[in-house]
Symmetry: C2
Subunit: 266 residues, 2 copies
Amino acid sequence: MKSRNSVAVLGPRGTFTEEAAKKMFPGRGLEHYDTVEDVFEAVDGGAEYGVVAVENSLEGAVNTTMDCLLEYDLKIRAECVMDIHLCMIVLPDAGKEEIKTILSHSHSFGQCRKFLKKNYPKAALKRYDSNTAAIKELADLKPAGVAAIGPEAAAELYGLKISRKGVEDAPSQTRFAAISKKEGSGKKSSIIFALKDRPGALYHALKDFADNGINLTRIESRPAKKKLGEYSFFIDFEGSLDEVKVKNALLSLKEKTTFLKELGSY
Amino acid sequence: MKSRNSVAVLGPRGTFTEEAAKKMFPGRGLEHYDTVEDVFEAVDGGAEYGVVAVENSLEGAVNTTMDCLLEYDLKIRAECVMDIHLCMIVLPDAGKEEIKTILSHSHSFGQCRKFLKKNYPKAALKRYDSNTAAIKELADLKPAGVAAIGPEAAAELYGLKISRKGVEDAPSQTRFAAISKKEGSGKKSSIIFALKDRPGALYHALKDFADNGINLTRIESRPAKKKLGEYSFFIDFEGSLDEVKVKNALLSLKEKTTFLKELGSY
């Protein structure tokens, strides 16, 4: 049983998601889970809120989050954008030995692809469920010639040394969402839909928003998981699901979709 | 120097990409590279063709391929869709011992997420640059209690045993593209563009295609790598870049974009 008052986040301690959760829910108790899917499962099972990463300005959508938003019957309740700075992290007694292996999350590797290619072209990259899990493994096993990439806070938390700050290829931001079973309210909303297969289908779907003066802030496509060429669309837009113009757009959109799911206003 | 006649593919031997390359270029010599980016680099440096995975029907777009199509000045010359079947692969003398660690590519893990959650909820997942790299490591190091997920052909190639076939959550297909420096021709085309920031921007961009009777077969957004909320759009459509209706649509689209790149017809 999850405590009803807790906030589920991606663990272990020290992840960017934890930082986002502290910002969104100051003073609340956090429960750490191994994967994004486990966070959704926890909220579905009784945790009041969960916090998950949605997209990064360099690496794009977090696929697992997208797929879980589709699968689980949960709502988006709030969002929060954080600047992401990544560090090269080594053992406290590391000298000038060659770094042969680097540990991190695949998204973090994606965010410093050019840095790695230039400075560590021969290093093997080992991927973990979170960059903090990678940092924890480095701290636990203390292997020689191994570094990790992740947040400064996590390096400090696990008693490791930062060999270089700001290794991301460009300034980067990540958007986090708070999810819960209950619906919220707010000036921004998200929906997911799949379209009937006909020429210009997406164009006609977007027309419903344009005709009603609704500004889209994001569109992502994810495979519908049936066959290639069939997609679900994730759309964020300015406006509440309660507003008349939004209701009108969704009513018209519904006729063109094979399914339409509201993720709530926040 | 790359041999001018060769086809660059993701290695090591036995990857799905290698299978796709053999289907697209029967009888041609293959050169294996460690990462998707290395394949682009090889073609940029003189290999006549490269073959890369573009999208999977379960896991979606291959982000590195998308980003490299944007970065490198290369064209899409052909495409090929393959059915993907994944196997649980173990050491030839494996008995009934518990599987504590599973090795594969993150996309393959994504394709059998439910299978893993049901059958190996506690197994640690270790990610590699390709599922064949994971299989090769299993064959080389022969660790106890470790399995890999990947193609049947690779299991046979590295002398391993298949403990279960068809572990993917649903039938899955991957689309591969052949890339080269030279432009090709064909009835399908791909472009990338970024839009000036104004309300309904994407809607008006898609209108150019709808007005000219051009059917879009795929749209993907990728972050523009500057700040959250700015995206590049990857569009595949039916029609050749030589056709008048396509030229008209692109001429009109160009006025709305901050950049527009043609990836060729194939």
